[in-house]
């Protein structure tokens, strides 16, 4: 028989548990970093980054490429490993307040992921279009690509996969069942990165013009649309969040974490949004 928990004994949690500070910190660090990156591009893209075969190009751009790829691989492994090692092994007994707080953290995580996608798939991608209009097509490793493809895309991938790892290691609803919307939200923009390989192969082998609507670029758009799966993620999470809020703040009963882990699809029933 499924367990239920009554909320009458639970005190109203401190507001500080639901602070925006981590999100602002993440968005601030990310945006501050990209502003610095943009200044670097303005200083050295045109002056040192036009001729792949020059020594300066190797110094200012290829070294940056190698460094960022290495750091990104390490960061990816570190984030996933840390989230896995520190996972909650006692999810069945998680308190409603703690579960609610983790949903809050997940929301903040996804906001930062969204901002990272904006920087990569919007700002730096638009910038790359401008680069192609201004400078002839050069190599797979133009200064613009070194920032766009090989820095901003991996960074949002790390954040996306990180948020997914956070959900499956800390939230009962996502711990045992596989959320397809969440997999699409993270996996679809992730696939833009391998699509870069196809894109560069195509530009090398077939030499499509750098026209944004060229069929070779359709993969970027289709995989980008996958980010709309965020609607599905919220649709799954919201009923449980409201159920927890009703328990924590209004003393109504909510399904226990054990029941949620056994039957996550029931916890995602929109009926819990009704009051």
């Amino acid at each position: 028989m499924a367990q239920t928990t009554t909320a009458t004994t639970i005190a109203i949690p401190e507001r500080s548990l639901f602070s925006w500070n981590r999100m602002w910190l993440g968005v601030g660090l990310l945006s501050g970093w990209y502003i610095l990156v943009n200044l670097y591009e303005r200083a050295f893209a045109f002056t040192k980054g036009l001729d792949y075969t020059s020594a300066e190009y190797q110094t200012y751009w290829m070294n940056l490429l190698l460094a960022e790829l290495a750091l990104e691989a390490l960061a990816f492994i570190a984030v996933c490993t840390w989230l896995w090692i520190t996972r909650d092994k006692n999810l069945e007994n998680i308190s409603p307040v703690e579960e609610l707080r983790r949903y809050w953290n997940l929301g903040l995580f996804i906001v930062v992921y969204t901002v990272a996608i904006y920087w990569g798939a919007s700002y730096f991608t638009e910038q790359d279009g401008t680069w192609h209009q201004t400078v002839i097509r050069d190599t797979d490793f133009t200064p613009s690509h070194i920032i766009e493809f090989y820095q901003s895309y991996p960074i949002y991938i790390i954040l996306g996969v990180g948020s997914f790892m956070y959900a499956i290691t800390r939230l009962p609803m996502f711990a045992r069942a596989f959320s397809i919307p969440y997999a699409v939200l993270v996996g679809s923009p992730l696939m833009i990165f391998p699509n870069v390989g196809l894109n560069e192969f195509g530009h090398t082998r077939w030499f499509m013009e750098e026209l944004f609507v060229a069929p070779l670029h359709w993969g970027f758009v289709a995989f980008g649309w996958g980010a709309l799966a965020i609607m599905g993620v919220w649709l799954q999470a919201c009923p449980r969040v409201y159920e927890l809020m009703k328990q924590v703040y209004y003393g109504k009963t909510a399904a226990s974490p054990t029941k949620v882990m056994d039957e996550p699809e029931k916890a995602a029933d929109p009926i819990y949004c009704e009051v």
């Binding site: 639901f18 610095l36 200044l39 670097y40 303005r42 200083a43 050295f44 045109f46 002056t47 040192k48 036009l50 001729d51 792949y52 075969t53 020059s54 300066e56 190009y57 201004t134 400078v135 002839i136 097509r137 050069d138 190599t139 090398t204 082998r205 077939w206 030499f207 499509m208 013009e209 750098e210 969040v241 409201y242 809020m245 009703k246 703040y249 209004y250 949004c273 009051v275």
Partner: protein
């Protein structure tokens, strides 16, 4: 302990300020490209050798390569679209004669293709066709920049001609770009419409920001709580409805008013023109020879491209092979008197082209000659065909007779067998 922390804080601050100063300082200092070109040699060899070949290119600023801001200069030359186009590169023929330079450092004032004047339109070109162009340009921003002619083809992308470095002297202040409109007004394209563009951009941005601030300033978590408490109807009050109405109607009125104001201020407009012009290729040059390349090899350790060509002289004067040109690299036959390298040539000097036997081909005679070019430029310019997915090369051979009559023979699709040398082991 505090002193130590404070010391490190100061040190870190100092490093960060220094770094920021360097980056920001270099962002706004004048740029110089004197060390490197546009990097065209990074493009695939088969793309540069077998598609479009630029020749007879001349810049009016050579050999001084210095002009002042506002000075006009010209670039003239010819391009041949190779008769056998690589299958892996799309050919649409819809092309735009362009001028490459990193950023808007010069203005393109006018262009003629086969003596027909163009300013905006694309042209339709044919495979195997030769086209003469003349571009008139004007120096705009001070600095040193690589620049040269370029042909942009729809679907296929940009094809790059030879480049020169031009130093533009002076200051930008006072530079204007006056254009007379069809109504007889003169406008300066340097700033025409800029204020209007900035004003509307700011205005519409402010509308968006106000909308976001209105909604995002409402407490987010408390609103979630209202839903959980069953009071979701309270989320949207009469004031919110009025704001929504104001924004909906307001933006529609704003856009309609903007359209009416613009129409009133500019009553006469014409649509953007899409017309493409078909350009008839130049008539073929006099026929001196008939030729066929029979085989070609690239000696990897020796950096030597060699091929045999069977030549039949169909003219009435002796003919010699004077030059080979591919991917903006020229190889000259030193056995022809006066056939020397001119420093004002914008192409890369590939070195000597050895032709054996070196004697002229007499009228009616058919002879097979070996053409051999040993040069480090095959590597420097990344024209090493053995790295490519198609080991084929192309280029133009220039034949001439004693009267100076010239015939160009295009090698468009010749397979190349690489020779790796005896010391290179491994493999099958």
């Amino acid at each position: 302990m505090n002193n130590v922390t404070s010391h490190w804080e100061k040190k870190i601050k100092k490093i960060l300020y220094g770094l920021a100063a360097v980056i920001i300082g270099s962002s706004f200092s004048s740029v110089s490209f004197a060390v490197q070109g546009m990097g065209a040699k990074s493009q695939e060899a088969f793309l540069r050798m077998r598609t479009v070949v630029f020749y007879d290119t001349q810049f009016s600023f050579a050999p001084a390569n210095r002009v002042k801001v506002g000075d006009e200069f010209s670039c003239t030359g010819k391009v041949m679209l190779m008769p056998t186009w690589p299958q892996e590169i799309p050919f649409s023929g819809i092309s735009f004669f362009n001028f490459f330079v990193p950023g808007p450092q010069v203005l393109r004032k006018a262009i003629w293709v086969n003596e027909k004047y163009f300013q905006f339109n694309s042209v339709v070109l044919e495979k195997g066709g030769t086209y003469a162009y003349k571009m008139v340009l004007q120096a705009r921003n001070p600095g040193t920049y690589p620049m040269g002619p370029m042909l942009s083809m729809e679907e296929a992308g940009p094809f790059i001609g030879p480049e020169e470095f031009l130093t533009i002297e002076g200051t930008r202040g006072g530079f204007t770009n006056p254009v007379k409109t069809l109504l007889g007004n003169t406008v300066d394209l340097e700033n025409y419409g800029t204020a209007r563009m900035i004003t509307w951009t700011l205005l519409t941005t402010v509308v968006g920001i106000v909308w976001l601030v209105y909604w995002l300033s409402k407490p987010f978590t408390r609103r979630l709580g209202l839903v959980a408490a069953g009071r979701k109807d309270e989320l949207f009050n009469p004031m919110d409805r009025q704001v929504c109405f104001l924004f909906t109607v307001g933006t529609i009125v704003l856009v309609a008013a903007a359209a009416m104001i613009t129409k009133a201020q500019y009553p006469v407009t014409i649509p953007i023109q899409e017309t493409k012009y078909y350009i008839k290729p130049l008539p073929p040059e006099p026929t001196l020879i008939q030729a066929e390349v029979t085989d070609a090899t690239y000696d990897v350790p020796g950096r030597t491209l060699s091929f045999h060509i069977q030549i039949k002289n169909v003219g009435d004067k002796p003919v010699v092979l004077k030059e080979f040109l591919t991917a903006n690299v020229r190889f000259l036959n030193p056995d022809i008197p006066g056939n020397n390298w001119n420093p004002s040539f914008p192409e890369v000097n590939g070195g000597p082209m050895k032709v054996s036997p070196s004697e002229p081909i007499n009228p009616g005679e058919t002879k097979t000659v070996e053409v051999s070019m040993q040069s480090a430029e095959w590597e420097n310019q990344r024209l090493t065909m053995y790295h490519e997915t198609t080991n084929r090369f192309g280029g133009l051979l220039f034949f001439t007779d004693p009267s100076g009559t010239r015939q160009i023979y295009a090698i468009a699709d010749q397979i190349v067998i690489p020779k790796f040398g005896g010391t290179v082991g491994g493999g099958m």
